[in-house]
Amino acid sequence: MIRFAEPWLLIALVIVPLMMLYEWKRAGSSRIRFSSLELFKGLKHSRSLFWRKVLPVMRCLVMCLFIMALARPQSGTRTTEIITEGVDIMLCLDTSGSMNALDFTLNNKRVNRLQVVKKVVNEFIHGRQNDRMGMVVFAEEAFTQCPLTLDYGVLLSFLDSLEIGMAGDSTAIGSAIATCVKRLKDLKSKSKTIILLTDGRNNTGTISPATAADIAKTCNIKVYTIGVGTEGEAPFLVDSLFGKRYVYQKVDLDEETLQEIAQKTGGTYFRATNTEALKTIYQQIDKMEKTEAKVKEYMEYEELFAYFLIPGLCLLLAEIVLANTKLRKIP
C-alpha cells in the first residue's frame, strides 16, 4: 500500500493549474510582430511544433512529480511485529455424531448443528481483534485443530474444514477441556478463556469433566459452556432401506455438568435452542471478554520519493535541454 507521510503537502498541487495558467498567459505575451501571417495559411507545419506545445505540459508534470516526492510517498507493505495484549480464547467444538441433528435452521433451511456452529463461530472470530484464538475439536478424542494464533485466516480455514465424526462419535468433554487447558496453561496473558460447545453428555474419555474443570480453575482459566440442541426431540436424517428419512431422537444434553463446569471456573453456562440464541450467546461472550488491547504495530516503510523525483528530474532536464536547443522558441 502506498501512502504519503505528509499528505498535507499535496495541497501544493494547486500550484499546477496556476502554473499552467501562467504558462498559457506567458506563451501569448512574447512574440515577434510580423507584417502579415496570410502567407503562412495553407503551409504545412512540422511536427516539432507539437512537441513545443507539449513542453509547458511537461513542466507541469515535473511540478506534480516533485510535489508528490515532497509529500514522501511510502510503501508500508512490510508489517514486522504486532504485539497485542488481548485475551486468549480456545474454541472447543463438539464434532460428535449428535451434531448431525437437524434442529437448527439457517435462512429458513434445515441444517445440522455443526453448520450453524461454523457460521456463528465464524462471525465471532471476525468480531475479535488482537486476541489469540485456537481451536480444539473433540468427540471421542480431543485434539488441537489450531493452536493459539493471531492469524484468523488460518483459524477460519480450519473452522471451515471441520467435519462431523472427525474425532470419533462419542463425547469426551473432560478430555476436551484438558486439551484446551494444556494449550493455555503456560501462557502469560491477562485472561484465558475456553468456550466449550457441546450437545451431549460426557460418555468417554479418561478425565471426568469435573476434574477437568478443577484443573482449569487451578490454571485460572474461565470456561464458558454452551449447550446446543432443542428441548425434547431432535430430527436426524438417517439412511435406511426405504431411502432417507427423519428419525426423532431425544436430546441428551448434560446440562448439570456444563453448569457445574461454568460455575467452578467462573464462566457462564448458556443454552442455545436455535440459531438466533446461539448467535446471541456468542455476542454475549464477545462482550464479556472485551479487553483493551494495546497494539504495537511496527510498520517498515520504504521511502518511494526517488521513484517520483528521478523521473521528475529527468523530465525537467529533458524539458530544459529541449527548450533551449531543438525546440527553442524565439523570442
Partner: protein, 291 residues
C-alpha cells in the same frame, strides 16, 4: 514624440536628403514628371552664349539689336503623398521599420517636389483616412507635411488602400501625381487603383522587408500578425516550410507587380535592406525614358 525631437528628425532627413534631392536626382525628378509644356515668359536682350535658335527675329528687326525669347516650363504639378500607416509597417529587420522608411520616402518626395516648385498634399491612411493636408506650395508647407508624416500616431491597425484612393478621387479634382507609399498588404484595392490611375498618375512605392520574402532559420518562433493580432507558432528550422513560404511570397509579389503593370501603374520597389536612392534613380530613369 516631442516637438523638438520631431524637428531634429526632420532636420536629419533634410540634411541627408538635401544632397540627394538637389544633386543626384534634381534633374531626374523634373524630367520624370514634366508639366504640360513650354510657356512663353519674356523677351530679353541677347547675351553672348545664348542659343541663336531662340532669337526673336521680329523684335530684333524692330529694335535694332538682338533679342531672344525666354520660355518657362509650365510645371505647377500637384504631388499627393498617400502614406500607409497601418500596423503591418511596424516591422523591419534591417535599419528601419517599414513605416519609418515610408515616412522618409514621403519626406524625400516632398523635398524634391518643393525644389521644383510643385504643390504637395498629404493623405495619411490606415483603414480610413486619418489625415488630409490639401496640396499647397511653399517651403513652410512642406515642412508641415513632413512633420505630420513623422509625428502621426495611427488610430487604426488595419489597411484599406481603396478608402484612401476613393478619398483622393473625391478631394483632388485636378490631375495629380499620387505616390502611394504602402506595403500593399491589403485586399480588394485593384479596381479602385485602376480607376484612380485613369484620372491621376499613380505611382506605387512598394515598401518591403527581406524577411517578408524569405524566412531565416531561427528555430521555432511565435509570430503575431501586426494588423489582426493573431498569433502563430512557426518552425523555421523546417526547410520545407521555409521554401514553401519563399515560393508563396514570391508568387504574391509577382502577382502584385503584374497587377501594377496591367493597371499601367509604375512601381518603385523600396526595400529596407537596400539604399532607396538606387531604387528611386532607377525609377526616374525609367519614367524619363518612357516620356
Amino acid at each position: 514624440m516631442i516637438q523638438k525631437e520631431i524637428l531634429h528628425k526632420i532636420q536629419k532627413i533634410h540634411i541627408r536628403t538635401n544632397h540627394l534631392v538637389n544633386d543626384i536626382f534634381a534633374g531626374e525628378y523634373e524630367s520624370a514628371f514634366r508639366g504640360r509644356g513650354m510657356e512663353f515668359e519674356e523677351v530679353r536682350g541677347y547675351n553672348p552664349g545664348d542659343d541663336i535658335r531662340d532669337i526673336d527675329w521680329n523684335v530684333t528687326a524692330r529694335m535694332g539689336h538682338p533679342f531672344i525669347k525666354v520660355y518657362r516650363e509650365e510645371r505647377e504639378l500637384t504631388i499627393m503623398l498617400l502614406v500607409d500607416v497601418s500596423s503591418s509597417g511596424l516591422f523591419g529587420t534591417e535599419k528601419q521599420f517599414k513605416n519609418e522608411l515610408s515616412a522618409e520616402m514621403a519626406s524625400v518626395m516632398a523635398f524634391a517636389a518643393i525644389r521644383s516648385n510643385d504643390k504637395v498634399g498629404l493623405i495619411i491612411f490606415s483603414d480610413h483616412v486619418e489625415k488630409y493636408i490639401p496640396p499647397k506650395k511653399g517651403r513652410g508647407h512642406v515642412w508641415r507635411v513632413i512633420k505630420e508624416v513623422l509625428e502621426h500616431r495611427p488610430r487604426s491597425t488595419r489597411t484599406d488602400i481603396g478608402a484612401a484612393l476613393h478619398y483622393l478621387n473625391t478631394v483632388c479634382r485636378r490631375r495629380a501625381i499620387a505616390f502611394l507609399i504602402s506595403d500593399f498588404i491589403a485586399r480588394d484595392y485593384e479596381k479602385l487603383l485602376r480607376i484612380t490611375n485613369k484620372k491621376h498618375d499613380v505611382i506605387a512605392v512598394h515598401i518591403s522587408d527581406p524577411r517578408e520574402r524569405e524566412l531565416p532559420d531561427v528555430g521555432i518562433a511565435e509570430l503575431e500578425d501586426a494588423e489582426k493580432g493573431e498569433t502563430l507558432l512557426v518552425d523555421t528550422a523546417d526547410a520545407g516550410l521555409r521554401s514553401a513560404f519563399k515560393n508563396a511570397s514570391e508568387k504574391l509579389f509577382q502577382e502584385r507587380l503584374h497587377m501594377f503593370r496591367s493597371a499601367g501603374i509604375d512601381c518603385m520597389d523600396i526595400r529596407t535592406n537596400a539604399p532607396y536612392i538606387d531604387a528611386m534613380l532607377k525609377f526616374f530613369r525609367m519614367r524619363e525614358k518612357r516620356l
